[in-house]
């Protein structure tokens, strides 16, 4: 009995003293006072010093895209620090190219705010907010792909450009011991700001497992966004070539709805690559769009057609169909969304066809 008592008292006193010491140290040594962050030489924010730049910005409701939540393992949260960032840390080096280092690009979750800072971020990030949304419907598009409708709370709305994405937080669940954020393109029309649709395929990762195995209608999830410079471009009204595979369908759908809602009269062709007819989805919505849009055609192309499928459409990968259908490169603009492999191949095909590289917009995932 005495031993237990003495042990408990000693350990408690010892840890208590150290905790006190650390708290004092945090208040004195770790206290950098209030510091100023100037963003884009325009907006000024006063933050409590000593935290990482990423969390200081979050405390001011400015969200930099980050998938790992500030652990320095994804390298997404890049910002330009013009003043006050100190030297580049070795924990940042794996994520930065030589060019970026020259350009003062830093990983914001690794840089601490210890003096006044001057930084540069893309202007549209000011538009990024954090939302808690309700899952209104979950719809099986194919056995491995679901469409989720996320409804915003009353009074909240999202202002996004067609083609942009949001980040969805997968919380800690059984089999996942860390919170992760994953990016998903918005698949709904930007004209309705009270909800967004996401199209999410099951790949066995932390977030897709969460969506496919744990989420059900009525649940709430955290998202932030919108992000991304893969957007509908309204500079010219030349012909549009859209190419997607799998869930890359989502941003293209949003772009098409945007064109419908704003009565944009451009010729558009959407090449969609899949394996078998069972992998095609939302065909009724696409058919309706073909009716409603000025000059739009959906061209699905299947790479693994069997005789029993009775398929009369295009065969092979998307690049084959593109090669066949694109006759003249003049005045064409391309929007690609899909895996890096598909995008690299398609860019080559389009460039061979004579489409200018600066008219090719893409979103690799």
């Amino acid at each position: 009995m005495g031993t237990i008592f003495i042990t408990t008292i000693t350990v408690t006193t010892f840890t208590g003293l150290l905790a006190l010491l650390l708290t004092l140290a945090d208040r004195t040594i770790g206290n950098y006072g209030e510091l100023q962050i100037t963003i884009n030489d325009d907006k000024e924010y006063i933050v409590e010093g000593g935290d990482s730049l990423l969390s200081s910005l979050i405390s001011q409701q400015i969200f930099i895209p980050s998938a790992c939540g500030g652990k320095g393992t994804c390298g997404y949260c890049k910002v330009k620090i013009l003043e006050g960032g100190g030297p580049v840390l070795s924990t940042e080096l794996p994520w930065l190219t030589g060019e970026e280092i020259e350009d003062n690009v830093r990983i914001s979750c690794q840089c601490k705010v210890k003096e006044d800072m001057r930084i540069e971020i893309p202007e549209e990030l000011f538009n990024v907010r954090e939302y808690q949304v309700t899952i209104e419907t979950i719809e099986d598009l194919t056995p491995r792909i679901k469409r989720l409708r996320l409804r915003f709370k009353d009074g909240e709305e999202i202002d996004f450009k067609p083609g942009q994405y949001v980040q969805l937080k997968a919380p800690i669940y059984e089999g996942n011991d860390e919170e992760v954020y994953r990016a998903y393109s918005i698949a709904s029309p930007p004209s309705d700001k009270s909800y967004i649709d996401l199209i999410i395929g099951y790949v066995g990762g932390k977030a897709t497992t969460y969506v496919h195995k744990f989420l059900s209608e009525g649940d709430t999830v955290d998202i932030n966004g919108p992000y991304g410079d893969f957007q509908y471009q309204d500079t010219y009204d030349n012909d549009m070539v859209m190419v997607a595979v799998g869930t890359g369908f989502a941003p293209i759908l949003s772009i098409l709805y945007y064109m419908r809602d704003n009565d944009i009269r451009r010729k558009a062709r959407f090449y969609f690559g899949a394996r078998t007819p069972e992998d095609l989805f939302l065909l009724d919505e696409i058919e309706a769009l073909e009716e409603e849009l000025y000059d739009f055609q959906f061209i699905p192309t299947l790479s693994r057609v069997l005789d029993e499928h009775d398929w009369t459409g295009e065969r092979g990968r998307v690049n084959v169909a593109l090669d066949k259908h694109i006759k003249s490169p003049e005045d064409k603009e391309a929007y690609l969304c899909g895996s890096p492999g598909m995008i690299d191949t398609v860019i080559e095909v389009l460039k061979d066809k004579g489409i200018l590289e600066e008219s090719i917009y893409y979103d690799k995932f």
Binding site: T10, V11, F14, L21, L89, S90
Partner: protein, 196 residues
């Protein structure tokens, strides 16, 4: 216990009783951060730095508090807590007052709070009944030995990066195998001196 010169213990901790190659302690950061020489050298320095101070701190704690109170059995928990708190404190001090040192090795400090080589050194010091100077020699030597090991491994891994490996062996797999081979080489030193 034979009275060993602290210098002998110092060199023994580097070569014959290396923390990595003889005891396989501190493997987590050893495998995780041994991809490139500069980074591993930074981490090695941080480990040496922390080892030196925690050995001194824990020596004092053990001999002036735990032993007089007959609480030797509490050494595990006390050492762990004191190491964790010390590293935290050290990080704050270094970050605030020695920015250059912070950029060189401060960022590694959170990684080594739970490095078991550091707890191991404090525990060995107690088990082997080292005097203060012997403990100091052992602490510094172990740190340098750990640095030597991780830098050697980083050198090997930089070369391996360009070779084709069977997929299952990439990363930690091949690192553990190389560690084993290096450990075999270090066993060659082990008969030279006994420090326990």
């Amino acid at each position: 216990m034979i009275e060993l010169n602290p210098f002998i213990i110092f060199f023994a901790a580097i070569f014959t009783n290396n923390m990595i190659f003889s005891y396989f302690l501190g493997m987590c950061s050893f495998i995780g951060v041994s991809k490139e020489i500069p980074t591993s050298l930074g981490l090695g320095q941080a480990v040496t730095f922390v080892l030196t101070f925690t050995t001194i701190l824990n020596y004092i704690l053990y001999h002036s508090i735990l032993v007089p109170l007959n609480l030797e059995y509490l050494r595990f928990i006390v050492f762990i807590i004191s190491i964790a708190a010390f590293v935290q404190l050290l990080e704050m001090v270094v970050e605030r007052y020695f920015p250059n040192l912070y950029y060189a090795l401060g960022i590694f400090l959170p990684l080594i709070t739970v490095n078991c080589a550091i707890l191991g050194v404090s525990l060995f010091m107690v088990i082997r009944e080292y005097t203060f100077l012997q403990s100091l020699g052992f602490g510094v030597g172990s740190g340098i030995g750990w640095t030597l090991a991780i830098v050697a491994m980083a050198g090997a891994r930089q070369k391996i990066k360009r070779t084709k490996l069977p997929r299952g062996l990439e990363g930690p797999g091949i690192t553990l195998i190389i560690t084993g081979l290096m450990a075999l080489a270090f066993i060659g030193f082990s008969g030279i001196v006994q420090i326990q």
